[in-house]
Symmetry: C2
Subunit: 852 residues, 2 copies
């Protein structure tokens, strides 16, 4: 049956050589519909080369092409790029309309219908080929003879030419216009933003028109068999009598609607044309089973006869995408692997958080950095205390701060969302918010926060005060005035099924970073395989602990320090016991105390006075001590293991708390092997010193409690030097976990808290391809990871390797870590599903040679 | 002649097998004196093994040994370690004295002499062998019969034993006591601190006593032929009649002095014993020419007869050492290579700076870190302005600050020395002071600075106010009350000759870090081969420039920025022109603007108000802008090339100033090829962007001025990432200079400004072997240097490699850089001689295979 018409175009028949990579996705899809015996009007496909040729002035043999469409051909042209997402010029219908055809159609279809067809074509042609002002042609909305005449005259007036009457000329101009539009700069940038390669080609399909107007039942519509927002199976779509193309979706409701399914409000295709309706259902089912996808079908009915013009993948929200993929796999239409692969890992975040309903209205007053996904509505509060107070009254609030610090943590827990004026993607607010799964916008530098007046001022002059309701969209980085419509999280059966399948393929571990019992419960909810990073510093922030902490800091002697720490011990022990119990024997990796001590001291004069009072010291002394602890570059200062070596009582207390909790929690459940991680190591000797002390604490606790327990001691690799010296460090460590946040800071010499000021410009100018705090820098930081991993394993083959920075949940980082032979990645609980899915993708698409 | 007496000891004869590594340096030296036919009394040497055996209870055959010394042997024992600097137990004389010998000596030498000899021995024996209280035996100072009796009784009382009469027993106890003292902990630690290996051995020499008492002219003395402080040739020493050992050096002046040379005050050996005196001169000359060293000779005259007991290298200050080595080489006693090798590079700093006279008194009130060598005396000032005011009045002052910042630079220039309470070896104060060659003590944490009262309070309670005179010793890190005696710098002929010789051997370049014309002049004074690092930020600190700088910072648009910078342009151009002219065509490597902008803004409220006034802006606005520029970790913030990329007008202006200065200065002298260095690079694209703009500026200047010039563009490698990505970065760079200060900070994750708080403890505990800011960390930072060098040269074989951090002048760093194939090192001007000499040492001791 195949007719090779000429080089560059081919009629789409079941056996024609149509290839999506040469003719585009639409051409290929049409061929599939034809193969499934759907009533598709005759269609020919121009391949990428032919279209490119057209833009260069090399027109295919249009006479020959038009011959295929009969004596007085009426055709449409539609774009057919390789991936439908890459866009393309709009469809043009009714090509071939001219005075003669119009006259003939007036007789066969009535004057109104003929006018409408001709008018539509003139408008399209004038705008797309003639480049005339669309607004001027908009006026001809009712298809009268006068309107038609006026349109033709306007065309002549504007172009100094008669409206072309020769179908071949019309088609040639349209093809040329479409080919050139594709190669314009705007179109190229748009499609490249969607991932198209620079040389992406455009195909075109030329299809015989089915008019959708005429004596019998005529019209056009679209139908799909699934809800694009929820993914549930249901018939959706619209049909419009006496219409063409996708009119049904765009024209006003009050025109001649016919419902698809039985409807009390009026006629329906299901009743009026039951056979056509049955065919549509059958075609939908065919698409689903044979094209293995939920398709939206574009159809036209001409004189009771059904034609299928096109079909496209149903546009859908990610939650729908999950349901559809799982459903297809359950029905054995696709494999479980394919279902897993059909869900982009990052898209899962949309399911895990509330989302602003895409169909609602948005009144954004500030644009910042999308720091933690999801959306929230609440009343503005300007400090952590107010957040806690409001939460206690059962009111939702949004915590608005210039930036957050560890003192704000309880307020952050109490708030529904966080908005900060300063900070970047890895600022304190962002990291904590992601950990809590709270929506967060940071770096909203277009806002001015006047703390004294308690006002938040937007760039457009609007002011918001405490108690005013705002919303934040942490997925796009916007703050919005008032409340907005929300879609709730979607963690139902389909999600769970998908994740179970993903885990069955995955071959690298995924743990969660979890500091608190709620974090740990989230970690379990998202099926993390343990805690990869438990930061302990927040445990010293609570009011009752902070004072003991400060006494410890102000102590002059080891003895006094120990006394203050002794008061913290039972609280720490309780912290760990609860974590161990929640995690039910899963590994928990606890990072010893890390931040500089001055983070625990008050800043303002009032705070200092209160502290002096509490410690019964002269204010001067307190001021001097606080000033003495201040640091130029706290990130590079007296923290981490440097504290552990010089103020060893802190780690002693923590180790004791961990071991005692281990015994307590083991009594009540699964045996626990805690993992203790030393932060900020830069030299082997640091590990030796800390290890000796912790071993001694373990020995003491074993004797005191007459109990046995095991534990693992490891190192957080955060400095370039630790990576370089990983060989000797690994001799004393049973695991190494790469803290890629700090490692990135030090490798680049770049503070994550200060990078926000220029990171945007840096990425925009392509200085950095990506924000390295957002996407692991494989070239630089990655090489240090590789060096560290190789040297560490070289000295200690049993060394457990992992990554626990903010990068841990990123698909790119997971690929890197998997390739480098890491055992697991650890990330915020709310990133755990993303990581699990990304890891499954890798296992499916590039299976390990050694996997059995 | 050689008599092998027994295993373990041997008589020292010209042909005996005496080895400094087995018998110690003193034994070897004595053999040389014997070979030179000097009248050395019979001496036997115990080797290391024998002495070690003694301490373990294995005594050599003392009967046999004593036989060598005649019937009633009287001998001395002296230590003989491999290196005399490693110390050892004190000499013990007159072994063999007992009642019988005493009685005999009373007859032959008179009672007083006999008493003196016996008393001395009893005292030595009681203290060193009997471990009795030295103070109790101190009382027997006049050699009467009563004193002798009392001493013997005291000994018996304290030990419950008679004083031993058997010479063999005496000698055995003394050998045992000396052997054990050597193996005690204190002695071991002391000698290890001087570089001795853990298993360093002790030899002993047993020498027949020459009594130095008797009827004729008798006595003992020391003589040397060079001044140990200046190195000038002159006869120095002392002689004391009727004395033994080194009594002449320790006993009071009022005893029986005889001068060495003719002296109006009394008799001299030169007159009384002209032959002996001539012999001493001859022996001195023999030592110099045959032992190839200036020696201090220990001699005794007994009945007009001269005996040479020992000779040791003349103790000397480093300035004397230089003069002596040069003199020996000029006299062809040693080679120039050896003269160069005899001067430890670091010792040169003593010549370059004023030193506190080691013989003066020291009243230290604070101990800090020795941050910049040399000493200074002056009145205390507490701020830079006061320093300038005092300098303007011609008064010397010491600037005392909690820490210094760029605003203090002019005050530092005005001061004679700097003392800071905070900061480490690479703090701002330390770096600047070393650059200026100013004595500096930092981290004097035992001081409390009360700014309000204007008082500096020492730990011992003393208070110092503005105007009080203090001194600082930057070579040892002390602050001293009042003025002290000083030795001036010594840069005379010998120094210059030595440096010329060193340069003739050296095979790696040495440049200076020089920011200002005085720096540059120092660089030339110390024969640096160009400027390896010219920091430009200080050029914006002067009052008239600071305002323009601040206007630039506060400008909202590129245009306003450019206008402010245009005012700075002529000043910058003049800066560079002057530098180029001073350097007379030698290369000058200019680092583009590096520090964060907020360093140029005032801190206090008053400063902000003044700024608001000067800029005609509301105070609020100024405060907000200043707050907006504040950074959490300035070291890792918006500085270096990050400014160059985001605020490109600054580099544009600097490049223009450099190029215009190049043309101006080339007109008046040697053609200049400026080197422009981009700081804080972490990605290749940064270099591309800056390079493109600088090339454009060069092209514009060439056209405007119708002049040709060349320049070289390079990169400062300060981030680990720049080292890792050196391959691609080198494609756009003609040189790479490693900034090891920042590279160390980032590799360790350690701020040099904050490290002071725990670095002392870290080094003390051996966590770090050395302060990595002081000594290049070869393992970690060094690997990054090696990686950077290899990858850079791999892509660009012509790449010039250098190091310009504070480490640049350290001998260890120079070795590293030379091994890694670097072209040059750059360091503070005052370190340049050290570096030149260290490089010469390397070239002499490990010549390069490819050297021709």
């Amino acid at each position: 049956m195949q007719k090779e018409v000429s080089s560059g175009f081919v009629e789409i028949t079941p056996t024609a050589e149509i290839d999506a990579k040469r003719h585009g996705g639409r051409a290929k899809c049409l061929q599939r519909l034809i193969r499934l015996d759907m009533p598709v009007p005759r269609t020919i496909a121009l391949d990428f080369g032919a279209v490119h040729g057209v833009s260069a002035g090399d027109m295919p043999d249009l006479d020959q092409m038009l011959t295929l469409f009969g004596a007085e051909p009426l055709v449409s042209v539609r774009p057919s790029s390789e991936d439908p997402d890459w866009g393309g010029p709009g469809a043009i219908l009714n090509i071939g309309m001219n005075d003669a055809v119009h006259a003939k159609l007036c007789k066969t279809h009535g004057e109104t219908a003929a006018n409408a067809l001709y008018l539509r074509f003139i408008q399209s042609y004038a705008v797309h080929v003639g480049r005339l002002d669309p607004d001027e042609f908009e006026i001809f909305s009712s298809p009268t003879a006068d309107a038609l005449r006026a349109a033709l005259e306007l065309y002549e007036e504007e172009t100094d030419e008669y409206f072309p009457q020769d179908p071949k000329e019309q088609l040639a101009e349209i093809l040329r216009s479409m080919a050139r539009a594709w190669e314009g700069t705007t179109a190229r940038l748009l499609r490249q933003a969607k991932g198209a390669p620079a040389d992406a080609g455009l195909g075109l399909v030329v299809q015989k028109m089915v008019l959708g107007v005429g004596q019998g039942i005529c019209g056009s519509g679209v139908i799909q068999f699934v809800n694009g927002v929820t993914g549930h199976r249901e018939i959706r779509g619209r049909y419009l009598c006496k219409s063409q193309g996708r009119d049904a979706l765009t024209e006003a409701e009050d025109r001649d609607v016919m419902y698809l399914t039985r409807d009390p409000r009026g006629r329906s295709i299901e009743e009026v044309l039951p056979e056509n309706f049955a065919d549509l259902l059958r075609y939908g089912d065919l698409c689903r089973t044979r094209l293995r996808e939920e398709m939206e079908i574009e159809f036209t009915i001409e004189n009771d006869e059904l034609f299928i013009l096109d079909a496209v993948r149903v546009a859908r929200a990610e939650r729908a995408n999950v349901r559809i993929a799982v459903s297809l796999a359950k029905d054995k239409v696709i494999s479980r692997e394919e279902a897993v692969l059909r869900i982009p890992p990052r898209a899962l975040t949309e399911l895990l958080h509330s989302q602003i309903d895409p169909e609602g209205t948005r009144d954004a007053f500030s644009h910042g950095i999308a720091a933690s996904p999801g959306a929230a509505t609440g009343k503005i509060v300007f400090n952590a205390r107010a957040a806690q107070a409001m939460a206690a009254q059962g009111e939702d609030c949004i915590l608005v701060r210039r930036e957050t610090s560890p003192e704000d943590i309880r307020g952050m827990h109490a708030a529904k969302g966080i908005l900060t004026i300063r900070g970047g993607i890895t600022s304190h607010a962002a990291v904590i918010a992601r950990g809590l799964g709270l929506p967060c916008v940071v770096g909203a530098g277009d806002l001015v926060l006047d703390k004294k007046k308690g006002k938040l001022k937007a760039a457009d002059g609007r002011e918001f005060g405490e108690g005013d309701v705002i919303s934040i969209d942490g997925s796009v980085g916007e703050a919005l005035a008032g409340a907005v419509d929300m879609l709730p999280p979607e963690l139902g059966d389909s999600f769970q099924t998908l994740m179970t399948w993903a885990d069955s393929f995955r071959d690298i571990g995924v743990r969660a970073n979890a500091d608190t019992p709620p974090d740990a419960r989230n970690a379990r909810m998202f099926a993390a395989e343990g805690i990869g990073l438990c930061r302990t510093e927040h445990m010293f922030i609570d009011d009752d602990r902070l004072l003991a902490m400060r006494e410890m800091i102000f102590a002059d002697h080891a003895e006094d320090r120990r006394a203050a720490l002794d008061r913290l011990l039972p609280m720490q022990r309780a912290d760990f016991t609860e974590l161990f119990e929640i995690m039910q024997g899963q590994p928990v990796c606890i990072r010893l105390f890390d931040p500089p001590l001055h983070e625990f001291l008050p800043h303002g004069r009032e705070g200092l006075r209160e502290l002096a009072e509490a410690l019964d010291l002269p204010l001067r002394d307190v001021e001097r001590r606080v000033a003495g602890l201040r640091e130029f570059n706290p990130m590079l200062g007296m923290r981490g293991v440097r504290l552990g070596v010089t103020v060893p009582e802190i780690y002693d207390m923590q180790a004791r708390a961990i071991f005692e909790a281990t015994i307590d929690a083991s009594n009540s459940g699964a045996p626990i092997v805690p993992e203790i991680m030393i932060p900020l190591v830069s030299a082997k000797r640091e590990v030796e010193i800390v290890k000796a002390r912790i071993d001694a604490v373990a020995a003491a606790v074993r004797i005191e409690r007459s109990a046995e327990f095991d534990y693992r001691l490891g190192v957080m690799v955060e400095t370039p030097r630790a990576a370089l010296r990983a060989g000797e460090i690994a001799q004393h460590a049973s695991f190494m976990s790469f803290g890629t946040n700090d490692l990135t800071q030090m490798t680049y010499g770049l503070s994550r808290d200060d990078a926000g000021r220029f990171m945007g410009e840096y990425v925009a100018q392509g200085v950095y391809e990506e924000d390295p705090f957002h996407m692991l820098d494989a070239d630089g930081v990655g090489e240090l990871l590789q060096i560290g991993a190789d040297r560490g394993r070289g000295e200690n083959a049993d060394l457990t390797l992992s990554i626990c920075g903010e990068h841990g949940g990123n698909p790119e980082s997971i690929r890197f870590c998997r390739d480098a032979g890491f055992d697991y990645v650890s990330c915020s609980p709310f990133r755990v599903p993303v990581a699990r899915l990304a890891a499954a993708h890798l296992a499916i698409t590039s299976p390990r040679a050694d996997n059995v």
